[in-house]
Amino acid sequence: MTQITLTLNGRTVHGQCEVHDTLRTFLRSQGMFSVHYGSDSGETGAGAVLFDGRLASSDVILAVQADRHEVVTVESLNTSAELHPIQAAFVAAGAFQSGYSAGAMVLGTLALLNESPSPTEAQIRDMLSGILDRETAYVKPVEAIHRAAAVLRGEETAPFAPVILPSLTQGGEPSEYDPSDTPPVAPAAVPRVIPSRDVPEMAVVGKPEIKVDAIRLAKGNPAFTDDIELRNMLYAKVLRSPHAHARILDIDDSGARSLPGVHEVLHYKNTPRVKYASGGQSWPNPHPHDQVSFDNKVRHVGDRVAVVAAESPEIAAHACSLINVTYEVLPAIFDERDSMADGVVVIHDESDTVEIHDRDRNIVHHIAARRNDPVGAVERAEANGHHVFTQTFRVHQVQQCPIEPHISIAWLDEDERLVIRTATQVPFHARRMVAPLLDRDIKDIRVVKPRIGGGFGAKQEMLIEDIVGHLAQATRRPVRLELDRSEEFIGSRTRHPQTLTFTTVVDDEGKLVSQDLYIIGNTGPYGTHGYTVQTVAGLRGLTQYNAPNKRFRCDVVYTNIPVPGAYRGYGAPQAEFALEAHMDDIAAELGFDSIEFKRKNWLRLGDELNIAPHLGERAASDEELDEYPRVLSTGLEECVAQALREIEWHRRDDPEWRQPSDRPNIRRGLGFAYCMHGTAIPFLDMGGCSIKLNDDGSFNMLVGATDLGTGADTVLGQIAAEVLGVPLDDIKVYSSDTDMTPFDTGAYASSTTYISGTAAMRAAEAARERIKERAAMLLGVEQPCSIELRDRRAYAPDGRSVSMEDIALDSLHTQEQEQIMGTASYVSPECPPPFAAQVIEIEVDIDTGQVTVKKMAMAVDCGVAINPVTASGQVEGGMLQALGYAHCEEYAFDDNGKMINDSFGPYHIYRADEMPETAVYLVQTMEDSGPFGAKAVAEIPKDGVAPALRHALQNAVGVSINEIPFTPERVWRAMNSSAATS
């Protein structure tokens, strides 16, 4: 150990460290929990601190290098209960979602404003360039820094609130596009809200309330999985496969076990073989259950081979290198189009995996659904004078990239129950799924989900909880496992690659007669979410346009790529890219304007969702259906009108704009995509909530829903506050802990606001009824239903009132004592679709193929946005991820299936200093099935960017590319090919 001395937050600190310890490790050992891990190479910035006054990633500074230097963390600002003005500005602007990198952002702002009290936007974005943010698209952080600068200069700042805009349409009918109507001027971070007359004014719902977890995030207080210290903690490291496909003939762990500091080594030879499927889904998890904790076969580079628990991460890593594994390397296959060939490779040849559709051809599932007669429609097309169009598209593999990687810590509590503190989106599923693997009853396991640093689906999985569980049981000591960034790429979950073929029949009027979608879905080596994601792809690909005949077929196939799973959008981004591109090309072929052609066919109010009931794990046959679900709310035409105005759509046909005379190598283009998504999974997703009244009239609200940074806790609190007539600050939200909180299926499928929100509303309503009873008793009112709750008081019809506190004290202490509380749960029979219009502006360098995205705007009908600031943040962040999918993110492999770009940089995600301009419109509609009219918002922003970008490319340079991402060489080759054939 080496002794170092440094100045930390203004005080001299003496400490000891290993030579190889990073400054981040040292700071966390000193209790500076705001300094987070994002990667070893420091480019995430989650661990950035002020090092001698400069913002610097503490991941790549050794603690010994920091000896005799000055270090400042965000904890230095936490000298009182009050927030520093910079922290306050971030909170006010809704700039934190998960807040995992909050400390770095605040410190960077502090340094920037010390140097430049009035920074330019470029300076702000340059400062943020080293802090990767997968959640906000940097829009609100930039606004927060502008506002903080103004406050520190002594200027007044207006409250951060939405801009309210008038509607451009009437009654859901399309409006005439007016080129002279200029878009509204407002900061990018401000949501543009178009209210609906159907939505009443409310006290808390619909307001830009401050997030309920704002303080802890702004101050960098210990809130995340890793932010606890347990005595005698052991550190786990997974030995991963170097081969894409191999049988493990033997493992010799003696070398590892003899290393001092090693406490346990687990692998297939000493771990029970219990089959499971890792996808975090409702019971019973879909078959095949094709995984075990440790297998005698590996099926992708990065697959689990063994795990070590040791006194330090370094010892554990060293021990992994001492495990001697004898492999029989097998042929591997990576492309889903090749996987079904006879006799190529059999990826699951073990006998104990059952319910594989066609094992020898690696087909996990064959999915089929149909409405009427699509085959006949094609056969009769020629005779009917109809047009038939068939196109195939390929979409690729990308990663969710939460800045907080997967991390779990497990230990045995005082009752020897197993506690797993884990970064998960599905704590209740994780508890149920891990139990048989650990040979424990569910009742003997407690899963605690603290604040999560982003998930986006990657954490909708029981991914590493079994490993820490096994090790904690074996060693009887706390065990921590955190994936490094490379492991996050190769050993967690990704988006499914797919090959999609659409066949569409269109009549002369431009109406769809039939639509057929065939998908080959690549689920990698394990089924996990493979069935459900492909089903949703079929649902999304075949729902948003009316056609009397529809068919979906899908082969879900095994390959040897890193494992795909859930990723925000869940099959929709793949399908909607192909669908919208297909529709654009049909329109062009038939001579229709693309939007007009789509409008002829898109779903309107009252239209049937006519393939939906036939898809999914609980699909219905025609005979079982009384009627098809229908669209009961849509603001699509308003979305289209607002989006086209924002992007100044008329420029699309202006040759002078498209080909700027002063930049001869540049072509410009505009693109549009129509998007439709779902809200939760009907009859399946379920949320629970309980609310109890406290002595002072405040409430504790317990929810099983998992806030990933989306603001779910805030939104659920707002719903309860609205019902109970109190401010949001009186609702103390706690989520989620399988011992303490009600069940919830988890954060996925755009379900939290709609499902868990309805549960919160109903629990609050139950509490409200008891409060009214007590208030009526205190006020001498005979009809409790005549009591109204508002402003923390209960009012009688004659105006007399009693405070919520008085009601609480009376009920808890004075007469006929009772604990006023409400509990409720909710599962929905509906899946109301949100709608959106996505537009995009690009520039293309015709010499190089480089595409530069200049602007993205999305207008979303998400029903009533319970909190317009958090809702718009969801849209901004979703568009950022969607842009990466369309433009620059991709997995690259060598010939042996090893990922060659498993770090940020080579795998490029958008930075603050290169983001296009963005604008978000929230078009209100009243969805009667949702809490206070709400529908989903979190996933639909993932759906439209890729097709809109393709549409813009067609406008700019006239090429149609059926594969993403639109990288420079791909576009350059398409232009060359187009030039050669024209």
Binding site: T2, V19, H20, T22, D40, S41, G42, E43, G45, A48, F51, R54, L55, A56, S57, D59, V60, I61, L62, V64, Q65, D67, A104, G108, D126, M127, L128, S129, G130, I131, E314, A317, H318, S321, D484, D845, D847, T848, G849, Q850, T852, H887, C888, E890, A892, I900, N901, G905, P906, H908, Y910, R911, D913, E914, P965, T967, P968, E969, W972, R973
Partner: protein, 235 residues
């Protein structure tokens, strides 16, 4: 980080050179490369931070940049110049405050924009033994501990690049500086280290590397096209 097993922070250049002459001892400049490597090692780091190599001097047409000058300082000191633009693009904000000029030259990866900017600026490298060599020669035969880099900042410059996104590490970048002594073009993304050329003809003869971001054919096309643009901008 490569799990360093030892660490020294010498106070003099001679002490550092003496340490680096010993087996397994490696120079530790900022740490953005060395400390980011997680592989197990038997390396002993020799931290250069106390050697006084962090100063810069400038006159009208030349600048001498100490090896331990941070890229963030280059950004500020050379505002409006190619060096500033290259340093800003080379690393994001939280790493350019750590990465150094000397470290960039020592590593000199294929895509290193700072090294390319130095090449275009007729850089020379001074090493611990007092020897001063052209950067081109140093890159082909890297010997000695880098003490400082001297650059010509006169004339006009141009910078062209193509990447997946605006701030992506360029697949290929071309930079040029036109001075009284002529025009030098440098390229990234075509070879194992940035290269300097004097004409498009030379570029035509390069057979570039390839990877998933760009094939050799595409990189060749970019190198020629971007070099033509740089020359066009400077002529």
């Amino acid at each position: 980080m490569p799990l360093l097993v030892g660490y020294h922070r010498p106070n003099t250049l001679s002490e550092a050179v003496s340490l680096l002459a010993q087996p397994h001892h490696v120079p530790l400049a900022g740490g953005t490369v060395l400390n980011a490597d997680r592989s197990r090692s038997d390396l002993i780091g020799v931290d250069l931070q106390s050697l006084g190599l962090d100063s810069m001097t400038r006159n009208n047409s030349h600048a001498t940049i100490g090896a331990m000058v941070r890229l963030s300082e280059v950004v500020g000191a050379f505002d409006g110049d190619l060096l500033s633009e290259a340093a800003r693009r080379e690393l994001p904000s939280t790493l350019r405050t750590i990465g150094t000029v000397g470290g960039s030259v020592a590593v000199a990866g294929s895509e290193n924009l700072v090294v390319a900017a130095l090449l275009a600026s007729s850089a020379t490298v001074e090493t611990d033994d007092g020897e001063i060599r052209d950067l081109v020669k140093f890159l082909s035969d890297p010997r000695g501990l880098i003490v400082a880099v001297d650059v010509d900042t006169s004339g006009s410059w141009a910078f062209e690049h193509t990447g997946r996104t605006p701030m992506d590490t360029p697949i290929v970048a071309a930079m040029g500086r036109a001075t009284a002594n002529g025009l030098i073009i440098s390229l990234t993304g075509v070879s194992s280290a940035p290269v300097a050329v004097s004409s498009v003809d030379e570029v035509e003869h390069i057979i570039p590397i390839d990877d998933f971001r760009g094939s050799s054919e595409y990189r060749h096309h970019l190198a020629v096209k971007l070099s033509e643009r740089v020359i066009g901008a400077l002529s």
